[in-house]
Symmetry: C3
Subunit: 188 residues, 3 copies
């Protein structure tokens, strides 16, 4: 991966904040650290995964924690900030009081990430010693198959393994998403 400038990382985060009416964290040191973390992850993995979370290194599995992560919008809606406090509301920005935001990412996903990362750090001979069958040593990430979903409220269409927590267009909840199934009728 070619090096990415901090300015480009910042410009993207600012564009994203503008679109959703969010602000970037009011703490300049924290902001700098986040942008550096996003830059490092993008150079390492090829995508800017969240600097506050452990990535597995496999794109489709880390997709939910690529910044802006899947959890940002419900978090800002409920707590006024995302888990990292990179994106905050105007009120939080002005108060300079960063709230504590609990982790919304499901435990199963976190656990699998830890397993994969631990494995990747082992040396090859440690990862699969002769005495241990390969299957036991390996953390297997589930296959994620994208599907076509739509928001029953506004009609927004999305192609992912799971529907979003909040519709980016009308703010409907995940429960209002349904799968679009293609039906082919044969006549005669």
């Amino acid at each position: 991966m070619s090096p990415i400038s901090i300015d480009a990382v910042r410009a993207r985060a600012e564009a994203d904040a503008r679109t959703y009416g969010y602000y970037l964290t009011p703490d300049p040191e924290l902001l700098q650290a986040f942008l550096e973390g996003l830059k490092v992850n993008e150079e390492r993995y090829g995508y800017p995964s969240c600097p506050c979370r452990l990535a597995s290194g496999r794109f489709d599995f880390d997709r939910d924690i690529i910044c802006p992560c899947d959890y940002r919008d419900p978090d800002v809606q409920e707590y006024g900030a995302c888990y990292c406090r990179l994106y905050v509301t105007k009120e939080v920005y002005k108060s300079k009081e960063l709230p504590t935001v609990p982790e919304r990412r499901p435990m199963e996903k976190q656990a699998l990430s830890y397993g994969t990362a631990a494995q990747a750090e082992k040396k090859p001979e440690e990862a699969a010693p002769a005495a241990m069958p390969k299957e036991e040593a390996k953390v297997v990430l589930p296959k994620l198959k994208p599907k076509l979903w739509y928001c029953k409220q506004c009609g927004y269409v999305i192609f992912r393994d799971e529907p979003p927590y909040v519709c980016p267009i009308c703010k409907a909840k995940r429960e209002l998403f349904a799968e679009i199934k293609t039906r082919i009728d044969f006549l005669g």
Copy 2:
């Protein structure tokens, strides 16, 4: 339907206003009344239909008046506020002068809603008395079949019975939406 907190209703409306650069009504009493109305409707029907309009109680038929309704974006664009004056522009918010916004919902849809609601309020024996054939007493809502539409200007894809009045991504008018038709070619 489990009870919904006023705070959750307010957080969703605020998130929606932020995304589109709107403001919530500057009148605090009106705001409170609207949020209560949305909460009541969500608990009654399972979706937050507009408190200023009569819902039929059938999701697909009321879809266009679930808040934020289909008419909000063209209304704010033309009048600076939606029909309810829940969502307003910054200018209207600062002036505190709420404009009068005419109803954009088509008359046929309104009439059917009134018919269905009137029918639902009748007691069972009144609704279909022995002397009157059931068919005559019944207001039949049309079947709404969702289709895949796209905005010819920006490419935005939506799955609904009708295209939106305004494209949420590029603001193109309804006339710029066309249906995506799937074509299957058989070779040999």
Copy 3:
């Protein structure tokens, strides 16, 4: 095409600016000139193509320069303003210093537009004189076939000839878009 009011053109541009957190140019004379230009183009072509660029008059080929053009979002992200300086960031709006923004539209598209426009201005007999075979005199615009694309980061779905430069939902780059291919399996 029926005449369009300047107020409607302005209302659409303002709505678009609000959604993305942009501002319209701080120069009132420039703003008026742009809105007039958009109005003229919409009346002439049926769509508001960019007043700073030459349109071919063929919708699918001019699609990328219909305002808001395909280049606006990456331009504002990188330079704080679009090519025309109609849409600017808050910082640029407040500074009143309009940056110079280079043309991002690919040269091939520009060249074809110039060819087609030059041809359209010729009188019919000039355009295809008896002595010259019709094929040579004609600038042939390529056929643009829309496809279904999705953003691998957030799942956003779009139906266009090419993916956007920036995902309007999550700000991922063009490289993160992939085509959705429909697969039909026959059993038995």
